[in-house]
Symmetry: C2
Subunit: 429 residues, 2 copies
Amino acid sequence: MMMPDDMQIDDRYKGVPAGTVPFRLDRIAEKGWNLLAGDLPLPAAVLRRSALDANSAWMRAFLAHTGLSLAPHGKTSMSPQLFHRQLADGAWGITAASVGHATTYRRFGINRILMANQLLSRPDIAWVAGELSRDPDFDFYCLVDSLDGVALLVQGLRAAAPTRPLNVLLEVGQAGGRTGTRNLSDAMAVAAAVAQAPDVLSLAGIECYEGILPGPDDATIETCIAALFALMTETARAVEARGWFRPGPVLLSAGGSIYYDMAAASMRAIGLKSPVQIVLRSGCYLTHDHGWAQRAWQRLVERSPHLAGLAPPPRPAIELWAYVQSRPDPGRAIVTLGKRDAGTDIDLPVPVAWHRIGGQGPQALEAGYRLTGMNDQHGYLSLPEDSPLRVGDMVCFGISHPCTTFDKWRLLSVVEDDYRVSGGILTFF
Amino acid sequence: MMMPDDMQIDDRYKGVPAGTVPFRLDRIAEKGWNLLAGDLPLPAAVLRRSALDANSAWMRAFLAHTGLSLAPHGKTSMSPQLFHRQLADGAWGITAASVGHATTYRRFGINRILMANQLLSRPDIAWVAGELSRDPDFDFYCLVDSLDGVALLVQGLRAAAPTRPLNVLLEVGQAGGRTGTRNLSDAMAVAAAVAQAPDVLSLAGIECYEGILPGPDDATIETCIAALFALMTETARAVEARGWFRPGPVLLSAGGSIYYDMAAASMRAIGLKSPVQIVLRSGCYLTHDHGWAQRAWQRLVERSPHLAGLAPPPRPAIELWAYVQSRPDPGRAIVTLGKRDAGTDIDLPVPVAWHRIGGQGPQALEAGYRLTGMNDQHGYLSLPEDSPLRVGDMVCFGISHPCTTFDKWRLLSVVEDDYRVSGGILTFF
């Protein structure tokens, strides 16, 4: 198996200096590159090792304290190196959104995959069936939420004839939400269809995704979440009463992106006769961010203050750096950072520091600096008219929502606190 | 030189069936895949060959009719195969946004590159200088818009000591716009700085980008564009009067994304004593789209009706296909298409047709179907409650703005009108 550390890197990777000849990723520290010295072309995305270490420690403490299982969503980073780090942090498996993700995970040695999505197409079903037959250590789960979907699965699996049944989780959801059956009777009809195909399907548990429910404010959303877990509870108890779960512990899984305290407490209260295993899927803890994840953390510790004291809190590990390339108007700078480099779907990146090559190191930016727009390759930075920033200076940006920033980078450099490049991680989107 | 057609493809590329063993890209037609038969995992991005051919013919007719030069912006697709097609359509060169782009272009045999951006950093300048020295056929241009920027270039180039000067274009812009000097006196100061460094810099022409000027409506924006070209005219004449242009034709270049009729007419009217070469940089003509580019085309033919008759008009060549994975609420379907698959920065993708495997082929979707939101891997499709769409059906989406969709795909299949896969193009983001 070729692991990322063994792979050859060159200037085909954005963030690697033009003209760099191929080298093994695990030799990147020997280049002696330092971001602050201007050694890297900008924009560049970096991960701060000290923050990754702190966030890993936080998750280890959280899992130890709560006894929950974690299958962090791999779609966030699509980085097998981070997956193996998450497994070392105590993760039980890695969550995928598609069979395309799962093939990548398998290639890099991930054996337990929770595909938090419906499995639909003939070629996708055939591949999963083939892996189930080929590798007894492959532990795979996917979702069902409709009779049509179960029928497609049963048809595809019977055609592919795997040597063992496919584990499915029955998904419950809420009106106005995303996937998932909306009420007990629909849920039970789907569960019955699964129970009627024991040759190819095995009902392993109940799943929901509480991360994206509609509502104008936190209080409303949190009420919706409570209703969703009530449906999950009803469904889990009714399925157990019918004896439709496979033998062994019942899996109960929720997305848990930002409400993992609520999700965990709600699932603990379900109270089945069988033992249960509670699986959360939060994928963003490792990098955290300067916006969305930070705000979610604040709300979480307000709701569940006891979690704040488990370990030092998560810190943003991911930063984007760009040059000031123009200062065309008194209150505006144009920076070399665009939509091709940073996610913009929740907030625009947040300027947090600046640096002049040869200067004293990064200086925090006070109020008055704000990114107001982005084109594909440019950012519009609003700044005080007397700002010292000039063409050739560097600006450090935090992001808000790691998922849509990771997918802009095939390589992220890992840096020490002095911005020396000490490692690198690859992504596989 | 390894060209994309020679490269090995397998299921590491999104859109290729799981379990596909490596094959050469130029053998993809032999797979016998047909999208409508369910042979491809969805979501998939496809390019319709007949539309690419039509759009190529349109551009050839436009260039023949106008005598303009085209350096289409390669950032749109980052696909060397499409670049070589654009060169065959009559393109004079390919536009880049960064040195990272330029290294990719060079790797795939592109000799003339207009970097429509400032060149700033030490490693980037050193690479360009090295290429200028190494390859006499390398024809490279970049922009300058500030004294600080010229100073960085001069310092970097003198350190790298290329065997010939670097061609620069003086960028003019408008207050509230992006990069570019805002008035004649600033422009002339930058031009003078270039003229004072003839050992390393050569002033090849004047550039502007009219594509993103602020304004509440078309009429206001078009007035701003007129003002920008007035500044370009003033500047070009003043620089010529000082004798600061390099010998030979003066390059005049504008983005021309969607206003290329106005840009061309304005630059024709500048009236220098020297011969001029007018270079437009529109990158989107080849794929067109179902939204932004289509609306821009409509406005263009209203302004410049004579262009409509040159050849059959551009047609959308790019389509995204997804499965219905859930129909959880009466008026809603969830489809397997998310922000990881489609750009959303101008409009959400537009549902245009649906298909059932084994059915009669794609049927147009009437009114009442609309994508209302997207998560990373899911789309929310609003539809009539009596819609025939069910789980497992396919939906075809058009996009609005090719740039941010291309970057979601490393492989796009080329399909015939019956959706047989006849080719493939790779992107290098």
